[in-house]
Each structure stands twice: as C-alpha cells, then as structure tokens.
C-alpha cells in the first residue's frame, strides 16, 4: 500500500493504519531499533510504541511523502532514550562513543547560553549535508542517524573500515568548520 494511503488511514482514525504501516515498515523499524538498543524485546517495544506515537502525531502531522523517515525518527528517539534510561551498559557505551564523536562537531560545547533553536539547527545541518557528496553524506547518516557500527558501514559501501573512520573524521571536522563559518553557536 502506498504511504499516502496509509497516512489517509491515520487521518481517518482507522486502526488499519497501524497494521498497514507495520506490514510495510515493521521489519526495517525493528531492525533499526535492534541496532540501537541491542535487545530484541526492547526493539519490539520501540516499534510498537512508535506506531502509537504516530497515531497520536497524525494528525496534525501528515507525512505523506516521508512516512518511513517519520516512523524511523520516532523509533530512533525511543531506542536512544531506552538505552540511556535503563543503563544498558554496553549499549550506553556505544551511544556515549557516538556522543563523543558528535561533540567534535560542536564549536562551543559548553555554551548553554547561546543554543540554536531547532529551526536554525535544522537549516544548518541540512545545509551542510547538501554540500557533501552522496557517499559521504550517506556514510555520515548511517553512523549518526542509523547508528550503524563502523564495520557494518564498511561492508555496506564496500570500503575498508579505516576509510569509513577517516571519512567520518573529516566530515565531523567539516561540519564543525561549517557551523563556525556560518556563525552558528550550539
């Protein structure tokens, strides 16, 4: 079923919306949650909670053209929060590692007074991603959006792990420079 029709079902408050979304994207969403949380049970909970969150968010949201990204974003947030909340040490360590890497992108990590609002930050991040080549952009997203391990990214793109690490390092540096140059302070 097309995304647009599934969103129509959500808007019409038809419970088949959840079933159709699950049939179409359930496998991918669960796999995403499993990669982040590292636990089958938690992954299933995140997937189910995501449908409920989508049910509550549509309307007013109408993600007709990006239903998967919409659901995946919810799953990602839920899975990240579960990792932090429940102190799953191994997974929390993985998330901490990613957080440390992300910190390299921030021009002034301690400056809480001058946070960018989400609108400006959205513009900044997407503006920066638009300057990257397709492969670099996708590697960056696989690491920091999908939270893939480096080994899996290397396998996916048919490149060595060291190349992935180098690419990520350079992109993080470029992002920091981009934000500084554009006058953004986080």
């Amino acid at each position: 079923m097309e995304d647009e029709r599934i969103v129509d079902l959500f808007l019409a408050r038809d419970e088949n919306a959840v079933r159709c979304a699950a049939e179409k994207y359930g496998l991918r969403l669960r796999a995403l949650a499993l990669r982040i949380a590292g636990e089958v049970q938690t992954a299933e909970e995140c997937e189910n909670d995501a449908y409920l969150a989508a049910w509550n968010a549509i309307p007013p949201a109408e993600p007709r053209d990006y239903l998967y990204a919409f659901l995946a974003r919810i799953v990602r947030n839920l899975a990240l929060n579960r990792c932090r909340d429940r102190e799953r040490l191994k997974r929390a360590a993985f998330v901490s590692e990613l957080s440390r890497e992300m910190e390299e992108c921030i021009p002034a990590p301690d400056d809480l007074e001058s946070r960018m609002d989400d609108l400006a930050l959205r513009e900044a991040i997407n503006g920066f991603l638009g300057t990257l080549g397709e492969e670099k952009r996708n590697i960056f997203l696989r690491r920091y959006w999908y939270l893939d391990p480096v080994a899996e990214i290397a396998k996916r793109f048919g490149i060595s792990q060291s190349k992935v690490k180098t690419t990520l390092f350079r992109v993080r540096k470029q992002l920091r420079e981009y934000l500084e140059k554009e006058g953004y302070t986080l």
């Binding site: 992108c105 952009r137 048919g158």
Partner: protein
C-alpha cells in the same frame, strides 16, 4: 550543547536524506570471502540442479541469495514450476470475488479505493482453513499432521482488472509453545501468466541458509531451506512441496533449543504427502 544532545538533534535531518541513506548504495564492490565464497560455490551447484529440475517437472528450486547490502535483511529467492488450475474446477463463489476485484480496480481509478491489500486482491480473514477450501470449491488439501488450534487464517484471491482469477493463497498459522508455524497453500490458475518467483527474507546481515531435500512417502521431494540464527535470535525452517498443482509451504520459526522439535514437525508434515 553536548554531544549526546547533538546526536539527538540529528533527528532534524531532512527525511529525503534519511530515505536516501537507507537505500542500497549505487555502486558496490563485492568481496568474496569466507562463507560468501562457499555460498556462491554451492549456489552454482544448486542452480544447475534447479535447471535440471525445471526441465524435469514440478517443484521449487533456489535461484539466488539476497544480501543485506541490496535488501532489508538477508534471504533467498525461489522459482517454482507448478501446473495451472482450470478456473472451471473452482466454485461459483469466485464469480462474486471476481466482480469485487473489478469493482476495486474501478474504485482505484476514481480515487476512492480504500482497501488494504491492493485492488487485485480480495482477502478474507474470517474463514478457517477448511472453510476457505470449501469456499473455493476444493476439498481441503491443506495437509497438517497436528491437531492444533489455528491462530490465524487468511484466504487471499487475486485477479486482474478484468476480473480473471489468477492466484489463490490460503495461509494458516499455529503456535506450539515458542514454535510458530505457518502452513500455506498456493494455487495458480490458467489465467496466471507471470513468472513464479518467491522471496524469503529474515532480519540480520549475516544469516546463512542451507538447502536439503526430504523424500515423501509418495515419491515426491520436499525442498527444505534452513537458516542460521537471525537478529531476533530465531531460526527458520521452511519446507516447499508441489503436489497436484498446489504449492505447499510450511514455515517454522523457532529458537535454538527447539531445533530437534522443529525438524521433527517438518518431517511429519512432509510425510503427509
């Protein structure tokens, strides 16, 4: 803002970029190492065997494996050689289904189609397996050796925009402790002209598959595909068998401790043919 907050803020990334990053990379370099090379070598043998089987008669055969780089999860693809059922042998109930399918296509044209399965399919979840067979006008051919309550049933009848019935699928689910079973029967009518391919996927990038054959008492052969543990910690065991122009499948999902029981269930099922 700290790193963990910035990691959360990645949610602000444009959905188009997110979708694009989840698509298969355009150019891939395949590295044939380890078990991949073994699988590739086995596949060559399997393809030859499959070609021979395709020439010799009804059955299913492996045509390839699906890697996680190209698809969601890993899996395999089968081709099948199955006789076509004459629609004249089926119940008059299918005339009403045929009219419903035409109506669904018309609704699609006018933008009011609201079904869940696409206009080409008519789906009924209320029939038991026996009732589904009765509805299509055939004596039940769904052969299951166990006496378990059906967890779910689904009769799907698919046709063209002009109402010609092409495929009939009867799915029945069972649960035995932590073992999940799904028995399927598929019928293709004389109106079906497409190539017959089936795809099976499981979650995980490193799931391996092995193929064996079980002889049945009637002299038929059941193709069995077993998987290694997937990311959900479960294994799959699936039997495929073609008899009297019906493709039967038994899909068993289980955890490692139930491996012997799962194999026994599959053998019991194959022995019914």
């Amino acid at each position: 803002m700290r790193g963990n907050e910035f990691l959360d803020k990645m949610e602000l990334i444009d959905p188009a970029y997110i979708e694009a990053a989840d698509a298969a990379p355009k150019e891939k370099r395949t590295v044939w190492t380890g078990w991949r090379a073994v699988v590739a070598a086995c596949l060559c043998v399997v393809l030859l065997a499959g070609t021979a089987m395709a020439v010799s008669g009804a059955g299913t055969w492996l045509v390839g494996f699906l890697s996680s780089e190209e698809n969601v999860g890993t899996g395999y693809e089968l081709s099948a050689n199955i006789g076509r059922f004459p629609t004249s042998a089926l119940s008059e109930n299918l005339q009403a289904v045929s009219e419903e399918i035409i109506r669904q296509f018309q609704q699609l044209e006018t933008g009011v189609y609201a079904g869940d399965w696409g206009p080409e399919c008519w789906v009924n979840r209320d029939f038991s397996a026996d009732e589904a067979w009765e509805f299509i006008g055939l004596e039940s051919m769904q052969k299951t050796p166990w006496d378990l309550e059906e967890c779910f049933d689904m009769l799907t009848i698919c046709g063209s925009s002009t109402g010609e019935i092409e495929r009939i699928l009867i799915f029945t689910g069972y649960q035995m402790g932590d073992i999940r079973l799904q028995a399927d029967a598929e019928i293709y009518t004389e109106n079906y002209t497409g190539e017959l391919r089936k795809t099976m996927r499981t979650i995980g990038s490193d799931v391996r598959f092995a193929e064996t054959f079980l002889p049945t008492p009637s002299g038929n052969s059941c193709q069995v595909i077993s998987s290694s543990v997937n990311e959900l910690g479960r294994l799959d065991l699936t039997g495929y068998l073609v008899e009297n122009s019906v493709l039967y499948q038994l899909h068993i999902s289980y955890q490692e401790p139930d491996a012997a029981r799962a194999e026994e269930l599959l053998r019991q099922w194959a022995d019914m043919f």
